[in-house]
């Protein structure tokens, strides 16, 4: 099928909330840094951030700045804006984050036609301002 250009969903329609476990991720995003939650003891990465390392049980955390690149693990192609039902081509992707083995983000990819998105495609972070002054990591081809 032919869909045409993939667009990120409009940031002004997106709202997030945080808690003490997740807030460092979003604070880093606001500074233009892509991070992931890493155990301060054993180095295991986990996303989304949780209170305790599932591998070793430690509460110590690191928030390293990642390269900001990722690989498409899977995706769907959608053609309606979920907020208002209007025609809107967007591609939700599940990406593997470079520099943080085993972690993924769910995001939108843009900068190419939707039908050209593919598993294994290399993408790089593309920041989308959203409500309340937060910034969302999306990705571009």
């Amino acid at each position: 099928m032919t869909y045409g250009p993939a667009r990120a969903l409009p940031g002004d329609q997106i709202r997030i909330t945080t808690n003490p476990d997740t807030e460092p991720f979003w604070q880093a995003a606001r500074e233009g840094k892509l991070t992931a939650c890493q155990c301060g003891e054993c180095g295991h990465f986990r996303m989304p951030p949780t209170a305790i390392c599932p591998e070793c049980g430690s509460r110590a955390k690191n928030w390293p700045t990642l390269p900001g690149t990722a690989t498409v693990f899977s995706y769907a192609i959608c053609n309606k804006n979920p907020k208002n039902g209007e025609d809107y081509v967007y591609v939700p992707v599940v990406v593997d984050l470079d520099g943080a083995p085993g972690t993924r983000l769910n995001a939108n990819v843009s900068g190419c036609d939707a039908e050209d998105v593919h598993i294994g495609m290399k993408v790089s972070v593309d920041w989308t301002p959203i409500q309340d002054g937060w910034v969302l990591p999306n990705f571009k081809a």
Binding site: M47, S74, V94, R104
Partner: protein
């Protein structure tokens, strides 16, 4: 090792309301529909609804995803004098057949004598399950999912299906065959929502909702209620119908599937799976049986690719071979012989969530009961064992084997 509660309890009554297209059940209330289903199930069992003394829910006692059952409210509605068991499996629809295992726990612990498992749902515009994730208020967890626009379960499944296509060469033709094969079972079912035969051309023309999934790969949006009554085998002997014996039941799952539908963190091969391997292995271990021993399989079919992936996880075929298994016609029921086709085990002889009605898995239990009673509309000849599955969804998912008495 055989399950300690094997063949000790049975489903003795099944009951339902009419099935309504989404939103059309109004002005009936949830408790009105739930009570009708319970009374019908009790009448089917040959007991009074005032004998019910246990509630074994799933989906966190949810009625749909926004309404909630309250045991005291149902007791008042139906005049039940006392209850001594009120318990639920957590999470969502994945626990449906597992709730029969929960019922068995209450009965074997002698907490109750007749326990009801039920679901009622009414998808008024603000209650549509299809947009449940997107409509939820942002929270710290879903803030890692919602912004991507994966707003409904179908969106999430489409991402899993895409990975399965990538890894194993699975085709959309196989998804279409799941829909067509099970649609072929509803033409003679009076309550089914979709009864017309489905051609491949019609399937291919169905609008793409979340590529690679089409509208017809998504289950129906239905209103209605279904209830089933479980009791001990000694009491079951006095009921109206032959008992549908609870031969094995399991709920749960493994960490690799984990938060599946919210976090998308599953490693291969779990990502492109139904998350059922763990409970599948448990019911096979409990029973000493395997997929080839099943006479009919009632597979939770909220989205067509998840039927294919469950067939792999339960061992009807090898992992990655679901495409060829499905396309060889092995899901189909042959009315002429009352058997499967091409050596397969008939799947969803009632039409399933895709074609008959979507009451969050309960119709699959009802069909399993009718098959082992020998009273199903599309009866599998000499059916002895029926597999019922619930999910794929957030854990727990669950599995049930019913046996002919």
């Amino acid at each position: 090792m055989a399950w300690v509660n094997q063949d000790k309890c049975a489903i003795v009554g099944v009951g339902a309301t009419d099935y309504y297209v989404r939103g059309k059940s109004w002005p009936r209330t949830i408790n009105d529909m739930a009570a009708e289903a319970i009374m019908n199930a009790c009448a089917d069992a040959g007991i009074s609804h005032k004998q019910i003394d246990g509630f074994s829910y799933y989906s966190t006692a949810g009625a749909g995803y926004l309404d909630k059952f309250d045991t005291a409210s149902l007791m008042e509605t139906l005049g039940m004098p006392h209850i001594s068991w009120s318990a639920t499996l957590t999470s969502g629809g994945g626990g449906c057949p597992g709730a029969i295992g929960l019922a068995t726990a209450g009965l074997m612990n002698e907490d109750c004598t007749y326990t009801v498992t039920l679901m009622a749902l009414q998808q008024l515009p603000q209650h549509r399950l299809g947009v449940v994730f997107g409509a939820a208020a942002p929270n710290p967890e879903n803030s890692f999912l919602q912004p991507s626009g994966l707003v409904g379960p179908g969106h999430l499944m489409s991402v899993l299906a895409r990975r399965h296509m990538h890894l194993y060469g699975t085709t959309q033709d196989a998804f279409g065959e799941v829909v067509m094969a099970t649609r072929a079972n509803t033409h003679n079912r009076p309550k089914a929502v979709r009864k017309d035969p489905l051609t491949k051309e019609q399937y291919d023309a169905s609008v793409m909702l979340a590529d690679p999934l089409r509208r017809l790969d998504f289950c129906l949006e239905t209103d209605g209620a279904v209830a089933v009554i479980t009791t001990t085998m000694d009491r079951a002997k006095d009921c109206r119908h032959k008992p549908a014996v609870v031969h094995a039941a399991a709920h749960g799952g493994q960490r690799e599937w984990g938060r599946a539908f919210a976090w998308m963190g599953m490693p291969d091969p779990h990502f492109a799976s139904s998350g059922h391997k763990f409970t599948a292995d448990r019911v096979w271990a409990q029973s000493g049986l395997s997929a080839k021993d099943m006479d009919v399989a009632l597979i939770y079919d909220h989205f067509s690719p998840m039927v294919l992936m469950q067939l792999e996880d339960y061992g009807f075929c090898e992992k990655g071979e679901g495409n060829d298994y499905v396309l060889s016609g092995k899901l189909r029921y042959d009315p002429a012989t009352g058997k499967g086709v091409n050596g397969g085990v008939p799947v969803n002889t009632h039409g399933g969530n895709l074609n008959e009605a979507y009451i969050i898995g309960m119709t699959h239990i009802v069909e399993g009961v009718e098959q082992v009673r020998g009273t199903a509309i599309n009866q599998v000849k000499d059916a002895e064992f029926a597999l019922v599955s619930g999910g794929p969804a957030s854990l727990p998912v669950s599995s049930l084997i019913l046996r002919k008495d």
